[in-house]
């Protein structure tokens, strides 16, 4: 399997599908360093988002993924870490 890349575009698509967007929040804008909480996503929305990422990319995320990675930039980097492990020998 070749290495997949997880991008901010993937993340915003999955967020929109699984949890919608908070009122007045433009997910197409500069959100990379905004906390998920500020973007209007609470624990349930993040659990749904995590579940969707796991299923789509065939990975299993740590229970604390969203407490350890509180912004889209941090999360995207973390997911790419998981994807690297997937192809590592």
């Amino acid at each position: 399997m070749s290495e997949q890349e997880f991008t901010i575009t993937d993340l915003t698509r999955i967020l929109l599908e699984g949890a919608g967007a908070g009122e007045g929040i433009d997910l197409g804008g500069d959100i990379l360093d905004t906390d998920f909480e500020e973007l209007g996503y609470e624990s349930l929305a993040l659990l749904e988002t995590g579940g969707r990422i796991e299923r789509e990319y065939g990975i299993s995320l740590d229970d604390d993924i969203f407490t350890d990675h509180r912004t889209p930039r941090a999360l995207v980097a973390a997911i790419n870490g998981y994807l690297k492990e997937l192809v590592a020998p």
Binding site: E42, S43, L44, L47, E48, G51, D63
Partner: protein, 422 residues
Amino acid sequence: MGRRVVITGVGVLAPGGIGAKSFWSLLSEGRTATRRITFFDPSSFRSRVAAEADFDPHLHGLTPQEIRRMDRAAQFAVVTAREALADSGLELAGFDPHRTGVTIGSAVGATTGLDDEYRVVSDGGALDLVDHTYAPQHLYNYFVPSSFSAEVAWAVGAEGPATVVSTGCTSGLDSVGHAVELIREGTADVMIAGATDAPISPITMACFDAIKATTPRNDDPEHASRPFDGTRNGFVLGEGSAVFVLEELASAQRRGAHIYAEIAGYASRCNAFHMTGLRPDGREMSEAINVALGEARMNGDQIDYINAHGSGTKQNDRHETAAFKLSLGDHAYRTPVSSIKSMVGHSLGAIGSIEIAASVLAMEHDMVPPTANLHTPDPECDLDYVPLTAREQRTDAVLTVGSGFGGFQSAMVLARPERSVA
């Protein structure tokens, strides 16, 4: 004070024992009834532990037709309703069917029956347009869980107001609270009230997996339910039912009935915060407690025992600890608090009624059931949770509380009818 409502009959079906007697043995001995799931192969699930009841409906007076048409939760309710009625002696004393009503609580209705039948009509999930020719007629009874109250009404011969109360995990308290209101206002003289749930099925395990609400402590199923323990990491799903005979105090006294307790106060509030989350301050639960105490005309310091919701999730146990302190002040530190979910798991809508049963049996025996599996203190849960072993103590008044998805917060005060009122 108007019409007062008392419990004169108790029926319980819980993991670890069927009937009120074996239920109390389990609690008073601090044994746990949690185990690796046997109802289906749980190996693909995150949480593979549950508190299952070993229940054979054939052994409990249900006919083959009744067994066929009833979901497991309905079977539970009928069996416990019959136990409660027999215990009350009311059947022999006679009662007016028109003045006798039924309220049964259930959070998830016939979810296990629905899960099974869906699998068949969809041919294992393959069909979008599910096949009606494989659907049994009783599928409608699963579709609408008011069938539970209908079955109980038929079983006991009640023809007054009947309904199912379904407020998530506070259903078992709210169902009984609703019944109390009907007797107080004069709509009914007797209520057969309680709750049931039999949710241990793949769909329910899966939905709690998805929000990591149930414990992944799969290597130690007997000690997996750990309310108030520092290592707790989610609840253990359970199943069961408890049903009570409620009567107006004066008429119960006239017929010389054994009175377990008066339901002295009850209230329910909403947190209006989150479908599954809780604010740590416990303010709404505290409000429900305060209103229930007020209705009972009692002060917090008259409470001898708190039967906690104690689900064993991180946030719940903190939340209600805060609520007890808000409502009872310093007395909270002097009052034993315990969670029977450590032993019988969390049976969703049923547990509130099962916890009422535990509370009245604690009064009956002057003994507080323990919180099993509590070894590691949690600095945020700093009350007296009665770890591991039951405690003998005079128990005249009990506060029992519940908290549920949807934001429901309920509280009930049970007390000896001859208590002094503030």
